[in-house]
C-alpha cells in the first residue's frame, strides 16, 4: 500500500476495484465503513454484487476481465472534462501528452460495450473520483489475477497520477495483500529477479554484494517464475522444494500441476499438514506452525511485526529456517550457522536497504513501516511524498485486451473465483477450526436465480461445471450476488477443486494466472 491502514478512514472518495474487502480483509473494511459513516463516497467496481457493493454509492458491475476498458474510460472522462490536477501532472509526472492522446478512443460509450457498465455511470464515477480532495484506490487480486494484471495496475496508476491522488493523507494506490506474509516473502528475496530488498539480480554490483555476504557468486540471469518451473518440470526442472504451499489446490490447472509435480525426480515439501501436495512428495518435513515459532510477518502496509511462540511445536516439528539450514549443511554449506530466528532476521536487515535501520529488537512493537534506511529513521508510513522511486511518476498507455478465453458456444458462462469470509485458501487451517467450519463446511456455486431457472438447475442441487481443462461437481446456491451469466466459486474446498478448471492464461510480464476469469459450462446433474 502506498498509504497506511490508519489512513483508510480519511478519504472523501473511496474507489474499490477487484476487492471483496469485507470478506477478504474484514478489519481493513471496517475502516472504510467508518469513513463512509463520516460522509465519504464509496465507489465499488466489481462484477458481483458483493457486500461492499451493496454499501456503495455507485456500483460499477463490470464484466469480468474488462477493467482496462472501465479504467481507461474513467481517465478519458477526466481528461475530456479537464478535471486533472494540472500542477501535479506538470511537476511530478511525465508522459501525460502521450497518455492523453492514447485515452481519446476510450469513450464511455465504447467502454459500455465492453464492460456492460452504463456510460453515464462510468462518467459519474470518474467525476466523483477526480473532484475528491482525497481520493483513495484500494484493490486486491481482482485486479492482478488476470492476463492484463499489469495493465490493470497501470490503468489505476494513471488515474491517481492525473488527479494528484498520491503522496498525501487519505489518498494513494493501495493493494491489499491476500496472505499474511506475502509482502514479506517478496521483501526477503523469494523472487526470481530480486535479492532481499528487491535488489535486482541482474545488477553486477548486487551480485558482488551478495557474493561478499554469502561466499557464492549467484547468476546474473533471473530465475524462472513458479508457473514456468512447473511447466518445465521433468525437462529443465528435476528437483523442487515447496514450503508451506498447497500448490495442487491453490494453483491453476490442477491436472497439469499434478502431472508436473509427478515428473520431478525429487520433491521435498515442508508443511504443517499432510496436504494434497505433500502426498506427492518424496520427503515431507514437519514445520512448526504459527503460535509455535518466533518470526516476523510484514503486513500490507509494509509494517514488519513480530510473531511469537506461545506453545511448543507439535511432535518433532521444527522451524523452517532450521530445516533449510540442515539441508544446506548436508550440501556442504557453512553459511547457515543460525541459532535463532532473530539471527536470520538480523542478517536480512543487514542486506536489505529497506530494512537497514531495523533489527529484531527494534521491531518489537511493530512501530515501523519500510523503507527504514538507517537506524534513527522513523520509517515511511506514506510512499511517494514529493517524489517517486524513479523520480517522476510515469504515465503508461495500456490497451484493452480480451481475457485469454472468452465465453463461447461450448463454454457460455463466466466463472470467477475468490475467497469467502469464513475460510482461507485451501482450508488447511480454517477447516480445522470449529467456528469457521460450523458456518461453512461445503463449497457452493453461486448462480443468479434467473440462471438457476434458465439452466434447469435447482438451489441445493448438484451441477457439473466444465472448462476445456476439466470438470467438477458442485452444489448450486441460488444467489443474486453474481449477475446473470457469471458464476462464482471459491478455491477453498478440495472436494470442489475449482482449479481443475482455471489456468486459461497468464499475465505476460508477471506470469500471474488469470484465476478471475474462466469460461465454463454449467449443467444440472441428477441425484
Amino acid at each position: 500500500m502506498s498509504n497506511p491502514l490508519a489512513d483508510m478512514d480519511k478519504p472523501d472518495v473511496i474507489f474499490c476495484i477487484g476487492t471483496n474487502m469485507t470478506e477478504t480483509h474484514p478489519v481493513a473494511a471496517t475502516r472504510l465503513k467508518q469513513a463512509q459513516a463520516k460522509g465519504a463516497i464509496l465507489i465499488v467496481a466489481d462484477p458481483r454484487h458483493i457486500p461492499l457493493a451493496r454499501r456503495a454509492d455507485i456500483h460499477l458491475p463490470l464484466r469480468v476481465g474488462s477493467d482496462v476498458a472501465l479504467l481507461g474510460a474513467m481517465a478519458h472522462v477526466i481528461a475530456e472534462r479537464g478535471l486533472m490536477d494540472e500542477s501535479f501532472i506538470a511537476e511530478r509526472t511525465e508522459g501525460w501528452d502521450s497518455v492523453r492522446e492514447h485515452l481519446k478512443s476510450f469513450t464511455p460509450e465504447w467502454a459500455e460495450g465492453i464492460t456492460g457498465v452504463p456510460a453515464a455511470l462510468i462518467e459519474q464515477a470518474a467525476v466523483l473520483y477526480a473532484q475528491a480532495d482525497r481520493g483513495a484506490i484500494y484493490y486486491t487480486l481482482g485486479i492482478t489475477e488476470h492476463i492484463s494484471g499489469v495493465d490493470n495496475v497501470q490503468s489505476l496508476s494513471n488515474l491517481a497520477l492525473m488527479t494528484g491522488n498520491l503522496g498525501r493523507e487519505g489518498t494513494g494506490i493501495n493493494p491489499m495483500r491476500g496472505q499474511n506474509n506475502i509482502q514479506g516473502a517478496g521483501d526477503c528475496g523469494a523472487l526470481p529477479g530480486n535479492y532481499p530488498g528487491f535488489q535486482p539480480v541482474t545488477d553486477p554490483a548486487m551480485q558482488a554484494k551478495f557474493e561478499e555476504a554469502w561466499g557464492t557468486k549467484v547468476d546474473l540471469e533471473p530465475g524462472m517464475t513458479k508457473v514456468r518451473a512447473l511447466e518445465h518440470a521433468g525437462e529443465k526442472i528435476f528437483a523442487m522444494l515447496i514450503c508451506g504451499e498447497n500448490t495442487l489446490i491453490s494453483d491453476p490447472d490442477y491436472d497439469h500441476c499434478e502431472r508436473a509435480l509427478g515428473r520431478l525426480d525429487h520433491l521435498v515439501v515442508v508443511d504443517i499438514f499432510k496436504t494434497e501436495t505433500a502426498e506427492l512428495a518424496d520427503v515431507v518435513l514437519p514445520a512448526s506452525a504459527w503460535a509455535e515459532t518466533d518470526g516476523v510477518f510484514t503486513n500490507t502496509e509494509r509494517r514488519p511485526q513480530r510473531v511469537r511462540a506461545a506453545v511448543p511445536a507439535q511432535g518433532q516439528a521444527r522451524p523452517d529456517w532450521w530445516i533449510l539450514a540442515e539441508i544446506s549443511k548436508r550440501l556442504g554449506s557453512d553459511q547457515f550457522e543460525y541459532n535463532s530466528a532473530a539471527e536470520v532476521f538480523n542478517e536480512l536487515c543487514s542486506l536489505s536497504p529497506l530494512y537497514a535501520g531495523l533489527d529484531w529488537d527494534r521491531i518489537d512493537a511493530g512501530r515501523y513501516q519500510w523503507p527504514v534506511p538507517e537506524a534513527d529513521h522513523p520509517g515511511t508510513p506514506m510512499l511517494h511524498v514529493g517524489e517517486f522511486p524513479r523520480g517522476k511518476g510515469l504515465f503508461k498507455t495500456p490497451a484493452y485486451r480480451d481475457p485469454a478465453e472468452v465465453v463461447n458456444e461450448d463454454y457460455p458462462v463466466w466463472l470467477t473465483t475468490g475467497r469467502r469470509l469464513e475460510h482461507y485458501h485451501t482450508r488447511t487451517m480454517s477447516g480445522r477450526s470449529t467456528g469457521t467450519e460450523y458456518l461453512l463446511n461445503e463449497e457452493t456455486l453461486e448462480v443468479h436465480p434467473a440462471d438457476v431457472q434458465a439452466w434447469g438447475l435447482e438451489h441445493g442441487g448438484m451441477a457439473r461445471m466444465s472448462s476445456p481443462r476439466g470438470s467438477v461437481l458442485v452444489r448450486v446456491a441460488s444467489d443474486d450476488t453474481s449477475p446473470p451469466g457469471t458464476v462464482f466459486c471459491s478455491f477453498s474446498f478440495s472436494e470442489v477443486p475449482i482449479n481443475k478448471l482455471t489456468g486459461s492464461g497468464y499475465d505476460p510480464i508477471t506470469d500471474t494466472a488469470e484465476l478471475k476469469v474462466c469460461p465454463v459450462r454449467v449443467e444440472p446433474v441428477s441425484g
Binding site: A190, M224, P286, E292
Partner: protein
C-alpha cells in the same frame, strides 16, 4: 496556546476536544467506568465515571464532559466513592454472577468483577429483578449469549454499529425488560453477524463470552498472554495468544495493535484450533516402496539433501527449484531463497503470490 486544568490539585495540560475522562486517564487516574470503551462514542449511561467540577451543580460524567481550560476537577472524594459504591451494588444485584466470571470469556470480562472488589460489593444489597435472559439455545459454537449477566451498557451494540458498521444486534425493550438481540430475535448465524467477536471482547461483565476459549475453562494452569500477529490476511492484526501450560486456549485482540487497534475478524478471533489439531504433521516422512513412511530427522534430511545434490549433478544446478511460502515468517522465505542462491548459485526461486 497550551490549555490546562486542575486535576485533584495538580495542574495538567490537555488538548482541545478531549473529555475529562481522557485527560484524567492519561494522568494515571483510576476513575471507574463500565459503559466506556475508548474506541466508541461515549454514552454516559452507567454514571460510574462521575467527577466533581468546581462550580457545577452536581457531579458530571467525565466520559462525556469536555475538558475546558481552568476547570478544577476532583476525581476521588468520599461522596463520589459512596455514590460509585451504590451504583456498583445496584449493578451487581442485577448481575449476581458478575463477581466470578472466567477471564477466558473476553478481554473486558473482568471489569465488573474488579469493581466489585474495589467497592466491596457482593450483589446482596439490592436483591431484585434482573434484565436480559440468556440465549443458551443459540447453537453457534463461538459466541456465548449469557444475558443474565447483562447490565445494559450497550458496548456490544455500539461496537457492532460504530466500529464494525454491521448493526447486527440492537436493544429491545426497556428497564428490566431490556434485551440485546439480533433483528427478529433470530440466532446470530441467521443475522448480519459476521462473528468478528468484538462484542465479546468489549463486554464488561462476561455476558458475552468466547465459547472456543471456554472449552478450556477447566484446565488448571494460569492463563498466559503472548503478543503475536494473525496468520491469515495481509492486514496483520495484533492479538494475544492465550495459553494454559502447553495448550493454546484462545485469542484476544490487542487494543494497541498498530494495524487493527483492537479489531479482529472471524478468522483471527476464532480460527486457531488447527494449531494443536491431531492432523498436524509431527514427524518427518520419506517415500519407501511408493509409500510415505515415518523417518528420523537424520534420515529425512539426508534424503532431502541427496535428492537435490543428485538433480544438480545430473541435470545441472538450474534444475533445482524452490517455492517459498507467503504464509510462513520472514525467516522461512529468507532461508528458502538463500538455500537456492547459496547452494546452487541460481535464482530459481519464487513465492506463491502468482496464484
Amino acid at each position: 496556546m497550551s490549555l490546562d486544568l486542575t486535576l485533584d490539585g495538580q495542574v495538567v495540560p490537555f488538548q482541545e476536544g478531549e473529555t475529562l475522562y481522557e485527560v484524567a486517564s492519561r494522568h494515571g487516574d483510576k476513575i471507574p467506568t463500565l459503559c466506556y470503551d475508548k474506541r466508541l462514542d461515549p454514552l454516559g449511561a452507567c454514571r460510574l465515571c462521575v467527577v466533581e467540577v468546581e462550580g457545577a451543580n452536581g457531579p458530571l460524567a467525565s466520559c462525556t464532559t469536555p475538558a475546558r481550560a481552568g476547570m478544577a476537577v476532583r476525581t476521588v472524594t468520599e461522596d463520589l466513592e459512596r455514590h460509585r459504591k451504590t451504583l456498583v451494588d445496584l449493578v451487581l444485584s442485577e448481575n449476581p454472577k458478575g463477581a466470578e466470571i472466567d477471564p477466558l470469556r473476553g478481554l473486558a470480562s473482568q471489569e465488573l468483577a474488579q469493581l466489585s472488589v474495589r467497592y466491596g460489593s457482593d450483589g446482596t444489597r439490592f436483591a431484585g429483578a434482573t434484565s436480559g435472559h440468556s440465549r443458551f439455545d443459540d447453537p453457534n459454537p463461538m459466541i456465548l449469549r449469557d444475558y443474565d449477566n447483562c447490565i445494559s451498557c450497550y458496548r456490544c451494540v455500539r461496537v457492532c454499529a460504530e466500529q464494525e458498521g454491521d448493526y447486527a444486534i440492537s436493544i429491545t425493550g426497556r428497564g428490566f425488560g431490556t434485551q440485546i438481540s439480533a433483528e427478529f430475535d433470530v440466532d446470530l448465524e441467521d443475522s448480519d453477524c459476521t462473528f468478528c467477536g468484538q462484542c465479546i471482547q468489549t463486554c464488561p461483565t462476561g455476558a458475552l463470552g468466547d465459547l472456543r476459549a471456554l472449552q478450556h475453562a477447566d484446565l488448571p494452569e494460569p492463563i498466559t498472554a503472548t503478543r503475536s500477529i494473525c496468520p491469515y490476511c495481509g492486514v496483520g492484526c495484533s492479538l494475544d495468544l492465550l495459553t494454559k501450560g502447553e495448550t493454546l486456549v484462545g485469542v484476544q485482540p490487542a487494543m494497541d495493535g498498530p494495524a487493527n487497534e483492537g479489531a479482529l475478524c472471524i478468522k483471527g478471533q476464532f480460527a486457531w484450533e488447527w494449531v494443536q489439531h491431531p492432523d498436524r504433521l509431527t514427524e518427518p516422512l520419506v517415500r519407501k516402496d511408493g509409500e510415505l513412511v515415518p523417518a528420523t530427522w537424520e534420515e529425512a534430511l539426508d534424503r532431502a539433501a541427496a535428492g537435490f545434490a543428485q538433480a544438480g549433478a545430473e541435470h545441472g544446478r538450474r534444475s533445482v527449484y524452490a517455492v517459498a511460502s507467503g504464509r510462513a515468517p520472514h525467516e522461512s522465505a529468507y532461508s528458502v531463497q538463500k538455500f537456492i542462491r547459496v547452494n546452487f548459485g541460481t535464482n530459481q526461486i519464487d513465492n506463491c503470490s502468482r496464484a
